[in-house]
Subunit: 216 residues, 2 copies
């Protein structure tokens, strides 16, 4: 599958690109600065010792042309980025991993005006764009290192069942267990759990994650 990563030159982008490329997906790393994305793509391709891929780089608009588009930008840039890509993202599956954190109080729940970043995305984007919210609880430190085993389940929600299924498959290609967490409204729970995990990290001096128990 062709996967675009908008804002893909960051820490999350690196791990996602390497893990997915190793599974044979074609990755388009996107950035506001296309030259920087191309450089990052060359760098990641060189790291991809097992081959496969390919990983290319370009503008965020080019990344938004892929079948599935993952969005990884700071919440402060979330709305503007989506508005700029509204046309390009029509008909796409958009995987939004944004957590609406408000520095410096990142260990306290912040509910944005639209109640969740993903719900805001669905309103800002074209009605034919199917927004999926997921990957809020995986530590970027772990995700960024493709060799790391990650002790964390990944909850996936969307109003579109097919989009949820596609995203769960892609989560599994990252080496993680993806679980169907229901409608997009449930992104409120997923996004707001991240500040709690950040509080736990600080309180217990560790990197926390979550596991859903009872699934056998």
């Amino acid at each position: 599958m062709r996967i675009g990563i908008v804002g893909g030159t960051g820490r999350e982008g690196r791990g996602l690109a390497l893990r997915w490329a190793a599974k044979g997906h074609a990755i388009v790393v996107g950035s506001r600065d296309a030259a920087r994305a191309q450089e990052k793509a060359r760098e990641l391709s060189a790291e991809l010792t097992g081959g496969v891929g390919p990983i290319s780089g370009g503008s965020n608009e080019e990344a938004a042309g892929a079948e599935v588009v993952l969005l990884t930008v700071p919440y402060a840039a979330h709305a503007d980025t989506l508005k700029g890509l509204r046309g390009a993202l029509a008909g796409r599956i958009v995987i939004d991993i944004t957590v609406p954190l408000v520095p410096p109080k990142v260990t306290q729940v912040n509910l944005p005006a639209g109640t969740s970043a993903a719900l805001e995305a669905q309103v800002l984007l074209d009605p034919t764009t199917r927004v999926v919210a997921t990957l809020h609880h995986v530590s970027s430190a772990h995700l960024g290192e493709p060799g790391h085993a990650i002790d964390c389940d990944v909850l996936v929600c969307s109003d579109d069942q097919d989009a949820r299924t596609v995203a769960i498959g892609l989560i599994e290609d990252l080496g993680l267990r993806g679980l169907d967490a229901g409608v997009l409204k449930n992104a409120v729970a997923l996004e707001s759990l991240t500040p709690v995990l950040l509080h736990l990290n600080r309180k217990y001096k560790t990197n926390t994650g979550i596991r859903i128990t009872g699934l056998g």
Copy 2:
């Protein structure tokens, strides 16, 4: 410690009373119908084969006179119950386990007007009452059976650090791991995760819970 359980004749009340009494706490089961609470207390005392306790019953006002008061009522009765007990609960630690579910859509996040039941409780109650939000994720089926081992961590939040510490101690007396989840605002995350777990229960036909990973 003397623990009152407001709305204590229900399913959660049974397991909490038996588990805490077995650890030597004195339990006051409260109900709008004091006679029913007294009957329930006698029934639970008879079940407490290992002795200790005692478990007594009375009105919700009597339960609210204990050092620590746990509130377990349906969300529809939450505000009225708290308004009626405002005076009795002044100066107490109130452990609020309410999830603001809106039947029949119990698998979708519902944010109440005050954004969380526990935040609403803190506003409705006297400023000297310290509200703790916790126990939203333990299946009542498991909690109700005092012999059941429960594969679930318990997140605890409050604006009062001492109240958080007392609640974590009481969670441990239930045989569970209690974790400090930060300020009361974080109750939004805790309460809204319950509909997600109910969705997972339905989707995967099981009884789910959560574990925080990375704590060693």
